[in-house]
Symmetry: C2
Subunit: 229 residues, 2 copies
DNA sequence: ACAAAAGTGTTTCTCTTACACCCATGA
DNA sequence: TCATGGGTGTAAGAGAAACACTTTTGT
């Protein structure tokens, strides 16, 4: 009886018949606050509970593809910022059968794809983070973990631009960061840091309808991707 | 036909019968270099290839428990530093059946548990990182990712002490960091930083057999855990 | 005694933080 | 014209980086 077995050798022996799903923590930024997209379950278990949107991994796709599919079905976007957070596998996390879930977080612009508008149809809604109720399954935990990861990433890398429209003012970025991080940031210091980024490009347009006539900026996407690599 | 479906609703529909395994990237530090524990496959696929040790998730355990079990069977340790890295799910990553793997990295002290000694039995061996051959499956990728994550963590948090014996000299920590990060670190600056940690405790013993007669230090484990929390 | 490694402080520089007034636009 | 938000610079402090000689021990 060999003591050490490569991963494949145990597969049949103790394998648990688990379904694998990808659950998405989709963050958006609207009307000055950070929101997350939740869906409401119509069936047991956790009927009536709000949960993270998710779906089972298909035969020909990996989990990233599953997450993208879920997102595109739900908010109709592709090519967004998507990132794997972690895998949750407690045996009893699903009360009926064994389900292992890998969570992702995504950043989108809610005003571009508004499942809120189809609320009556879909039971999908944006929630401000403080308003999120207790979720079904262990999804409150997944949400907390994803939010923690998002703030961590935000503190270390300039990746919040996926939450903003293509053209934005520096004040909008400022408010976004303050909202997500939950703290006030010195305006001048923040602007200086932003302006030091090579991927931030000043347009010569101004935002209309706002006092002070703030300049609009846009992102050089290629340069940003280089920065994040 | 509802457009949005909570995760549970799709489970039966497109579920792929995937086995779920935990694969462990076990790092150790011996004779001045960073090593990783690999096992050799005896059977197809990838017979003769070195791979990361792993095992299938059991019915009553979560993946963390699986990883711990694999580790304890392999190197006979419990209570080590273990951390989930990511989940790999490409449909063809296993040439025979569908296997989804969650990878973990762990830090141990090779001299305390030496699978190398039982080499003839086990086909388990410590490899210096530069000597690692091309691995079976996608394990080269898992190893690369885990190593990247380890260096990232090491740069931000003082967690390398699980790789060292209970009592160690500051020079040993210094060499460890240099080895893992792959760069030289100023000795005085490094010592100053180490000495500023409240969990580092000076013993009044000196290491024998080493010129200079360096002082031995130990870790206040509770204080360290507080620091890492 | 000599070779090798341990131990020790100070200066410079960079980055972060704190802070207040003028300007442009909309109402 | 006035109220609101946008735009700008400088000084102090904290943390990181650079740098060389003396002490201890083994051989």
């Amino acid at each position: 009886m060999p003591v050490y077995q490569p991963s494949d050798m145990r597969v049949t022996q103790q394998s648990a018949a688990a379904t694998h799903t990808a659950d998405c923590v989709i963050f958006g930024f609207a009307e000055g606050d950070l929101r997350v997209l939740l869906v409401r379950r119509a069936i047991a278990p956790f009927a009536g509970y709000w949960v993270l949107p998710g779906g089972a991994m298909g035969a020909g796709e990996n989990l990233d593809a599953t997450a993208r599919r879920v997102m595109s079905e739900l908010v109709g976007v592709r090519d967004l910022y998507l990132r794997q957070i972690g895998t949750y596998s407690d045996p009893d996390r699903h009360p009926v059968r064994r389900v292992v879930t890998t969570s992702y977080y995504a950043l989108v612009r809610p005003e571009h794809h508004a499942p809120t508008a189809r609320d009556y149809l879909t039971e999908a809604r944006w929630f401000s983070i403080p308003d999120v109720p207790e979720l079904g399954f262990d999804h409150s935990r997944l949400l907390t973990d994803a939010h923690a990861r998002l703030t961590l990433h935000l503190r270390t890398r300039p990746l919040a631009f996926d939450l903003l429209p293509a053209r934005f003012t520096l004040s909008e970025v400022h408010r976004l960061y303050q909202e997500i991080l939950g703290e006030t940031l010195d305006r001048r210091n923040f602007r200086r840091k932003l302006l030091s980024y090579p991927f931030l490009i000043e347009t010569n347009q101004k935002r209309q309808g706002v006092k002070g006539g703030p300049l609009l900026y846009r992102i050089d996407r290629a340069a940003l991707d280089r920065e994040l690599a």
